[in-house]
């Protein structure tokens, strides 16, 4: 029997009985077969099961009161808990805890959609609600609002937002959370913002209390178990459209970015991307289909990544654009048409070099599904995990981060990864419905092979990238559980004051360190000092 660290078997058995009295015996899971469900299905340690993070038990509460009682019992016995919402954070650690032996608190049964208010544009949900369940509810009730889901629809709006997830097509999902209800480490119930007045009429509508805004503490944090969240939701839009602008010289990307920045600053663009189509044409990372010439792959294998002259010649030869940017807008048809015309006119007046093409409009948003198709085309693998640093939206940073990644791969002798990644991989950011964004997030996918040696090499490569990119100011926006300590270490200003201050707050709020110890590298005192 796997025990929580520092807890004796007899104490754990006693605690399990108390937990079972709270949630019911069928929802206090400690049989090995049941607890095995609470592992990272995409673990980078697929071939080394002894190194995987594992839960000691799982509890599935039905309501907030049960969560509070669970937390009080956990405090009594100093048992670490690890809360998950729908537990489908595949790619970043799944539903396995940071600290092996933790008891997972599985919030899937708490899946009430408490309120959807289309008149004022908000919803209040519990953590176990999935995007698919939400979408179903909206369709059945004729409410024309759209959930902001990442690829798979089985995740949770709350869980995704609290991991700072990115949804399509709205972007920053956490920015949409305006109020939260949280069970604190001592079992007390907290509501943020206007909810702290004890009257919930303004709770979903105005996010601030009087004084500090506490929402951020629960974002990628271990300061509480969120049991409800109020989201602002966006009406389904009539249509979307956009444009691309492409050119055959790298330096043309600079005026493109300048122009699109100006358009974004004026509120004309809802989406904004930049890249190098020719350089990205040979990679297959994240399910892309390579279509580019072998010469491009060869140039990317050079330490200098190919000279501008070499790339310009290849672009002329293949007619694949060397650089490109794009903007998109969504909303009422007449409005987005006007925005598009304004944008195209702006580009012409500013004499931005490049070929401009309109992207045909699409009616409304995509339906929500479980969208895992990209995985199936990637060949034999057992899962994936992501390296996802934040970079500036500029030619300089785009090229520099790719150079760093290229050098790290070359120095590790991993040409397969370099070829697979190619250039730029995926690129998120510039999706802005709730907040305007001024950055990009690179997504570099690592596959799990179930080959101990290869998977270990890839994990080492991941760590090398974290360090090399971190040293240049490109920190991750989100990190897989097993790399969270290394990722947090990159935030080193003033001897890691960011982490140290969070530890100070955490020691006060959770002195026994029972809430998700280790999440994003924030550990309780007794685990920091060995």
């Amino acid at each position: 029997m796997l025990l929580p660290p520092g807890v004796s078997q007899s104490a754990f058995v006693q605690a399990l009985q108390k937990f079972a009295n709270v949630v019911g015996p069928q929802w206090a899971l400690h049989d090995e077969e049941d607890v095995r469900s609470y592992r990272d299905a995409y673990t980078p340690f697929a071939a080394e099961p002894e190194k995987q993070r594992m839960a000691s038990a799982a509890l599935v509460p039905a309501n907030v009161e049960q969560v509070q009682q669970i937390v009080r019992i956990a405090n009594e016995y100093c048992i670490p808990l690890y809360a998950v919402s729908t537990g489908r954070n595949l790619g970043y650690g799944g539903c396995a805890p940071n600290l092996s032996g933790s008891v997972v608190v599985d919030l899937k049964r708490m899946n009430r959609i408490i309120e959807v208010n289309p008149r004022e544009g908000y919803m209040i949900v519990e953590p176990g609600v999935s995007f698919i369940e939400l979408h179903r509810y909206l369709v059945e009730n004729g409410i024309d609002y759209v959930p902001s889901a990442p690829g798979p629809g089985w995740g949770s709006p709350i869980g995704n937002a609290l991991d700072r997830g990115i949804g399509f097509p709205y972007g920053d999902n956490f920015a949409a959370i305006k109020g939260m209800e949280v069970v604190l480490a001592n079992g007390e119930l907290l509501r943020t913002g206007r909810g702290a007045m004890g009257d919930d009429r303004l709770w979903p509508l105005y996010p601030y209390g009087l004084g500090p805004d506490l929402r951020g503490l629960f974002l990628q944090g271990n300061f509480g178990i969120v049991t409800k969240a109020c989201f602002w939701i966006t009406p389904k839009w009539e249509a979307s459209c956009g444009f691309t602008i492409t050119a055959m010289y790298d330096e043309d990307l600079d005026p493109m970015v300048d122009a699109l920045n100006q358009l974004a600053n004026q509120g004309i663009l809802d989406g904004f991307g930049i890249g190098s189509p020719l350089r990205s044409s040979t990679g297959s990372n994240d399910g892309r289909q390579p279509y580019g010439p072998p010469e491009a792959k060869a140039l990317l294998r050079q330490r200098d990544g190919g000279s501008p002259a070499q790339w310009e010649a290849l672009a002329r030869q293949t007619s694949i654009p060397l650089i490109g940017a794009g903007g998109s807008m969504q909303g009422a048809r007449t409005v987005i048409q006007a925005k598009l015309e304004y944008a195209l006119d702006y580009l012409a007046r500013a004499k931005v070099p490049g070929k401009v093409e309109k992207v045909p409009g699409m009616p409304g948003p995509m339906p929500i599904t479980i969208d895992f198709g990209a995985l199936a085309v990637q060949g034999s693998n057992l899962g994936h995990y992501y390296f996802s640093p934040v970079i500036r939206r500029s030619r300089e940073d785009l090229f520099a981060v790719n150079e760093t990644i290229r050098h790290v791969c070359l120095d590790a002798g991993d040409l397969e990864m370099l070829d697979d990644f190619g250039f730029s991989g995926g690129m998120l950011g510039g999706l802005s419905s709730v907040v305007q964004e001024k950055h990009m997030t690179l997504l570099m996918e690592f596959l799990v092979y179930g080959d101990a040696e290869k998977d270990a090499r890839r994990r080492d490569l991941f760590r090398a990238l974290v360090k090399a990119c971190g040293a240049r100011g490109w920190g991750e926006y989100r990190a897989p559980v097993i790399f969270q300590d290394e990722a947090q270490a990159q935030f080193s200003f003033n001897s890691g004051i960011y982490r140290r201050f969070l530890e100070t707050l955490h020691d006060g709020a959770d002195p026994n360190g029972i809430l998700s110890p280790g999440r994003m590298g924030i550990w309780p005192r007794h685990l920091r000092e060995g």
Partner: protein, 129 residues
């Protein structure tokens, strides 16, 4: 013979002669419940590909499970689970609970044992074996 039914995200509607051809007459409720479980939890990765008229709209990519099974079976047998007539109940249960390659496990908090029984009946026409 294939079943034709229209799935609207959020509701399951039945056209034609009844539940999946193999469902036993004395278990119509189980098969219907199983189909609802399938629609919510399985269809996203196991829908037919290419889709046939009447199949639900899919996302940006073909369904991962069906595509993976197409690669494995190479047309030797159907790649969409609902088109199979030889699935073994115990195998379905084990795969749902344990996952396989990129298919993650499905927990009891997501699909209960009772719902899993219904799903098994929907896919195989029987409860055990």
């Amino acid at each position: 013979m294939g079943r034709r039914f229209i799935i609207v995200l959020g509701a399951v509607a039945l056209l034609g002669a009844g539940a999946r051809g193999m469902a036993r007459p004395e278990q119509p409720d189980s098969a219907r419940q199983g189909r609802a479980v399938y629609a919510q939890w399985c269809l996203g990765c196991h829908a037919r590909w290419p889709a046939r008229p009447g199949d639900p709209p899919m996302g940006r990519f073909p369904p991962a499970g069906t595509l993976r099974l197409q690669q494995r079976y190479q047309n030797a047998m159907p790649s969409a689970l609902e088109d199979r007539h030889d699935l073994a109940p115990d195998m379905v249960r084990m795969t749902v609970r344990n996952g396989i390659t990129i298919m993650p496990p499905t927990r009891k908090s997501e699909v209960s044992d009772a719902q899993l029984d219904a799903l098994v009946i929907y896919l195989t026409g029987r409860k055990g074996g």
